[in-house]
Symmetry: C2
Subunit: 472 residues, 2 copies
Amino acid sequence: MAIAQARAAPVDKQAAEAAIAELAAAFGNRLVTSLAVRQQHGNTTTWLPNEPPDGVVFAQNTGDVQTVVRICAKHHVPIIPFGTGTSLEGHVNAPFGGVSIDFKDMNRIVAVHAEDLDCVIEPGVTRKQLNEHLRDQGLFFPIDPGADASLGGMAATRASGTNAVRYGTMKDNVIALKAVMANGEVMTTARRARKSSAGYDLTRLMVGSEGTLGIITELTLKLHGIPEAIASAVCPFPSVEAACNATIMAIQTGIPVASIELLDELQVKASNAYAKLGLKEVPTLFLEFHGTESSVAEQARRFADIAADVGGGPFDWATKPEDRTRLWQARHDAYWAVIQLRPGAKGFATDVCVPISRLAECVGETKRDIESMGLIAPIVGHVGDGNFHVSVLIDMDDAAECAAARRFVERLAERALAMDGTCTGEHGVGQGKMKYLPAEHGEPAIAAMRAIKTALDPANIMNPGKIFAMNP
Amino acid sequence: MAIAQARAAPVDKQAAEAAIAELAAAFGNRLVTSLAVRQQHGNTTTWLPNEPPDGVVFAQNTGDVQTVVRICAKHHVPIIPFGTGTSLEGHVNAPFGGVSIDFKDMNRIVAVHAEDLDCVIEPGVTRKQLNEHLRDQGLFFPIDPGADASLGGMAATRASGTNAVRYGTMKDNVIALKAVMANGEVMTTARRARKSSAGYDLTRLMVGSEGTLGIITELTLKLHGIPEAIASAVCPFPSVEAACNATIMAIQTGIPVASIELLDELQVKASNAYAKLGLKEVPTLFLEFHGTESSVAEQARRFADIAADVGGGPFDWATKPEDRTRLWQARHDAYWAVIQLRPGAKGFATDVCVPISRLAECVGETKRDIESMGLIAPIVGHVGDGNFHVSVLIDMDDAAECAAARRFVERLAERALAMDGTCTGEHGVGQGKMKYLPAEHGEPAIAAMRAIKTALDPANIMNPGKIFAMNP
């Protein structure tokens, strides 16, 4: 593979072996060192090269995580937390070797406080598992990045997804968390109160820190009541610009849409083929409204008027639950649908986010770039936030295609930054977006991040080689 | 005064004098050292002793702040940011001397991006000033702590107030900020995109850090469209427990109230006397609903049903804008109304926040404590968040009364912590709540805060003596 070749990693093999031996004594067959399992715990879903850890520990509780951290700290060996491996920017890779901690067995729902609209969970709980557990109580957790990711991973990468325009991102929905720090101690960031002004916001510092400051072992999450009424709709537009402009107007006029998702014509074509949707193959918005029966109807009516104003429509309801499910399943399967456009190809997925006033322009320029480069690259987006994704379909064995995809992604990130946006709205930095961070935040911010990292993890053993370089 | 005596502060007088001399050369008459002005810049609104700085610089731009920080850093002299001085926990005091930076002249509204629902402002802009500026564009900034505080101070203390139940706190409404760090450099925390997963959340780290990590010199804030319809209402209840239970049910059933404020019978009495409200002197909820005409009516109807279920009511609309204004003015004047209950007394104000399921119990126990201690102490609260305030009216010259008030506040903080709550929902830690922080967060969290502080401000010159002790 042209991109996915192994990097030369300055791993201290002796230290890793010593740590693995101690971990084997502590965890028995819950430490796995087979190549297949190690490679599974490197990157699976991205264009980045697979960099497997030296071993994988399947943790069962916070004490296990403390044990791993203490052993690794003693030998100066990296620790990489692993949820479901669905991250897109190389977060779970082990560029310096080390030990991956797999959280699949830490998937207990510790408590649901229905009366407080919160729950306490272990980090291996996935969002679908949590929502299945909550359904009977009339509650749900709204953050939905598409993949059935672990909530620990979602917190670590500050994930968001289709409902963020209404319910916020992980940053807005984590009330408190516990994390094992580099010294092996367990830090609790906050109490269960809905708000607090008691000191530094360690919760928000840990959310999005991608395992580089500590390892999340428990989360207290905000829950929401399942809305009395949910309505979905589909609305075609003459251009992506028109669809973006309708989105901008909906947000500006304060329609509290729960989701507003753009699929460009290529994505609609792909989803039609994959999910038999039978939609007109033009830029299309998928919408969801939450509220009471009457407020949902009112929101939808208002949106339909806006869509008509920019030449969009007809605005089609999907009132039957099965239609709704099919629609949103198609949205969630967008990536898999895309892959079918070019069998054998892999999707080089990226995302950016810009102020919503620049969205139409940013999407428009990006589409022109895709065309002029001759790429196959559908666009889907959580456009209510100004956030959109592009999946460039490439043959990973073709060096020229890989290089073109890289150039395209680079130009996209630079375009977003030039529009006062961010190089990643929700995928995180990991390895893939590291190089854009200084341009996005400036040196003083990167210096502050580096100082915080050094303060909390002086030996740089917590998921090193992610977000920013320690020795630039 | 029994409480308000000056503390012995280990100030290096010579260093302070050297810094003041340099500042005088740099700022001329924008450096003020008169005792009156210095005392104004110590604490004014709290029970804590006034600890004036050595001088006050009236900054006009970020460059001025950098100059102050660089001069103070050179002489190891503390720097204390000052907005409007309305904080309640001693945030603006100078226990180790130093230089106060007054932001009243840094009150420019740099940009309003109506289409993106955001604005860029200097930290001295007050919330009323901003909202007056925005009104013509149909926009508003929702965070309202009562006082016409500076937005820089509100960000620094993670303020919230009456609308937080719907719109969140400062943590949720600051998109990005600029801050002068201890090394004199200007750090920008984020771009204007609505969401980002690009690295550590430095915005949220700075919000609530009370000037101890850096000095905010610019804020990018989220704005909201002025709702099409706003309705206010008043609803009496047979007990504070009943009022709390109605609140809990409203939140649990997802009524998107914009404000839900409890006044206990003593507060209603005080506000009746002060603002001629003519309300029945029983525990009362003030409510505000935002939305479309029909959604506001629906929300109000649902709340009225809930109130009736717990024996509350009648639910009275205040539909005329002048009635609404009078009502909310009375709510905002609650503190001044309270003072009139006992002329000459001062209010020892405190706040806590608990999970909403514990709110009725926490308020009930607190009222019994007030009674058994023979205190005059009305309760008002942003009860939708589980947050409430108590103002203990005391004669500051009476040592026994002061001691009793302290004991009461201590017990209240401990009660909130025992209920998985926080010792401060929105006032911040400052000096007044420092002693509760280890119990609230545990040693590992305090150690992390201290490590972050040392990493970003190694000489401890940024508002020292606040939030936590550096040498416990």
